[in-house]
């Protein structure tokens, strides 16, 4: 991790990022697909940066690229993290939790891997984290299938947080939830930012959600960032045709 001079403290810097997928076929010509092109942005300490765009525009690819989860793709450009152990809250709260394990086991696993705590200490931290995200002690022995959508998402957040990150990448964290539950989870994320000094990259296709929680926002179209600025700037004075189109389709 490099520490260049900065005006405000950054937790993440991405410069000229391009991601291309190459598919090799045995009896057909090789194909390639450029998922991201020349993406440049940064996330400031303590802010919630939104990333909005339609399905398939490359949001998922960006989140995977940032966390180094694209072993088979061609990644060009720079990604600089200024925090340790950046974490992710996944879109599908069911798929991202191991259905064969209990809640307690899932939360304890990162601590086990870390190796520095003994069993009672791990137990204590698990229970502490459960409480912090609003789940009671009794959830520790349940399995993900026994939890509701909102509860699973809280658990996902807990899994991310128990590793003490400073930066969290939230990939459509509330898209699979009912509107009322959405509000609860957004409140939780907001409070946690305060309590634990977090910064977020918040990805969503839902403009309302972005508006309610984000400080700044980027608009992505077909793998490119076409506009970025504070939420008020972008929503009130959209510069690009595409942004206007997105905003026009939504009741704010």
């Amino acid at each position: 991790m490099t520490q260049p001079e900065k005006t405000t403290e950054h937790v993440l810097e991405v410069a000229h990022l391009s991601v291309t997928y190459h598919d090799k076929h045995l009896f057909a010509p090789d194909t390639s697909f450029q998922a991201l092109t020349d993406v440049t942005f940064h996330v400031n300490h303590g802010e919630i940066l939104g990333l909005v765009g339609e399905s398939g525009c490359g949001k998922s690819t960006l989140s995977k690229a940032i966390l180094g989860m694209l072993p088979r793709a061609e990644v060009k450009g720079e990604i600089r993290h200024f925090t340790k152990r950046p974490q992710m809250v996944f879109q599908d709260p069911f798929g991202s939790l191991n259905p064969a394990k209990t809640v307690g086991w899932i939360l304890e696993e990162p601590l086990r891997v870390f190796g520095k705590y003994d069993a009672p200490e791990r137990r204590r931290r698990v229970l502490d984290m459960l409480e912090r995200v609003g789940l009671g002690e009794e959830y520790a022995s349940r399995r993900p299938a026994q939890l509701s959508g909102g509860q699973r998402q809280r658990l996902s957040i807990a899994v991310a947080l128990i590793q003490r990150p400073r930066f969290i990448l939230a990939d459509e964290p509330v898209s699979a939830l009912d509107v009322t539950i959405q509000a609860q989870i957004l409140d939780l994320l907001w409070d946690l930012r305060q309590e634990l000094d977090l910064s977020y990259l918040f990805i969503s296709h839902d403009l309302n959600v972005i508006y309610s929680i984000c400080d700044r926002v980027m608009v992505m179209e077909k793998g490119r960032i076409i506009e970025q600025g504070t939420v008020d700037e972008v929503y009130d004075h959209p510069q690009q045709e595409y942004t206007r189109k997105l905003l026009g389709a939504v009741q704010l």
């Binding site: 991202s96 191991n98 259905p99 394990k101 696993e109 899994v159």
Partner: protein
């Protein structure tokens, strides 16, 4: 997670349970010594003294069937277990790492599983000779591709799910993810395969012992008993009947269990 309440599963469980009970008891006690010959009571029909009659040497058939069933069960169980362990490791590793090794092994696997297992088993016996340990080895080898293929397919599927990504973000090592995180999710699928394989093992062992290339005397085997019994069909049909029915019950029990679990009942 698994529905164990349907009638088929329960029927299978009952049958298997009774067979297992008899076998277990048989390990420590049988009404007569299975090898004790009694010249006075040759080919006696079923009676209170001998529940299933006696064979051409005067040996108690019931005791021999119990012993034979135990031996068949053990051979089948050990070979399935061996094939399972190796198959899981092989399938897990290839499914996880992929690449050309994976492609190659899968092609090989597809070719092998297309063959009737009897044929492969016979070839292996031809190579290594007969006897109970060779049978276990041959059958175990035969089951590796079956399990490897299923595990590999499931691992390749599970690998793409978010909980695996989440585990990687946690810093969990690859092998731990594979065997501690992913594997427990594959167990349900494996269960019915295990039951089917067990049945195939029982039939294969019985067949080969019947043919004379399986378990050799003095080791007990239902298959070999059937072979002996065939010569006395007219004079003592109960001999063949008991040995055969024992095989059928073993296979039926596990077949029903497997069907009850929702799997297919054919290899």
């Amino acid at each position: 997670m698994i529905d164990t309440h349907n009638r088929t599963f329960r029927a299978g469980a009952v049958i298997t349970g009774i067979m297992l009970l008899i076998i277990l008891v048989g390990l420590v006690w049988t009404p007569y010594d299975p090898n004790a010959m009694n010249g006075a009571a040759k080919l006696a029909s079923p009676s209170l003294a001998h529940l299933l009659g006696t064979d051409n040497f005067g040996r108690d058939i019931f005791s021999r069937v119990v012993q034979g069933a135990g031996a068949t069960f053990l051979i089948a169980a050990v070979s399935v277990a061996a094939g399972l362990v190796i198959g899981v490791v092989l399938g897990g590793l290839t499914g996880w790492y992929g690449g050309w090794v994976d492609e190659l092994l899968m092609r090989l696997n597809d070719t092998l599983t297309a063959f009737p297992s009897i044929l492969l088993a016979l070839v292996l016996i031809a190579l290594f000779g007969s006897g109970k340990y060779n049978i276990i080895f041959a059958l175990g080898l035969l089951f590796v591709p079956t399990f490897a293929r299923i595990v590999r397919m499931e691992v390749a599927k599970q690998k793409e799910l978010d909980y695996v990504r989440s585990a990687r973000l946690m810093g969990v090592g690859s092998m731990r993810i594979l065997f501690v995180h992913i594997l427990p999710n594959i167990v349900p699928v494996l269960l019915s395969t295990i039951a089917i394989s067990f049945n195939n093992a029982v039939l294969a062992e019985a067949s080969m012992s019947y043919l004379g290339v399986g378990v050799q005397p003095p080791d007990p085997s239902l298959g070999r008993m059937l072979n002996e019994a065939q010569s006395y069909l007219l004079s003592a049909p109960w001999y063949a009947l008991s040995s055969g029915v024992a095989i059928v019950l073993l296979v039926l029990g596990f077949g029903l269990l497997s069907e009850g679990l929702g799997g297919e009942t054919d290899a």
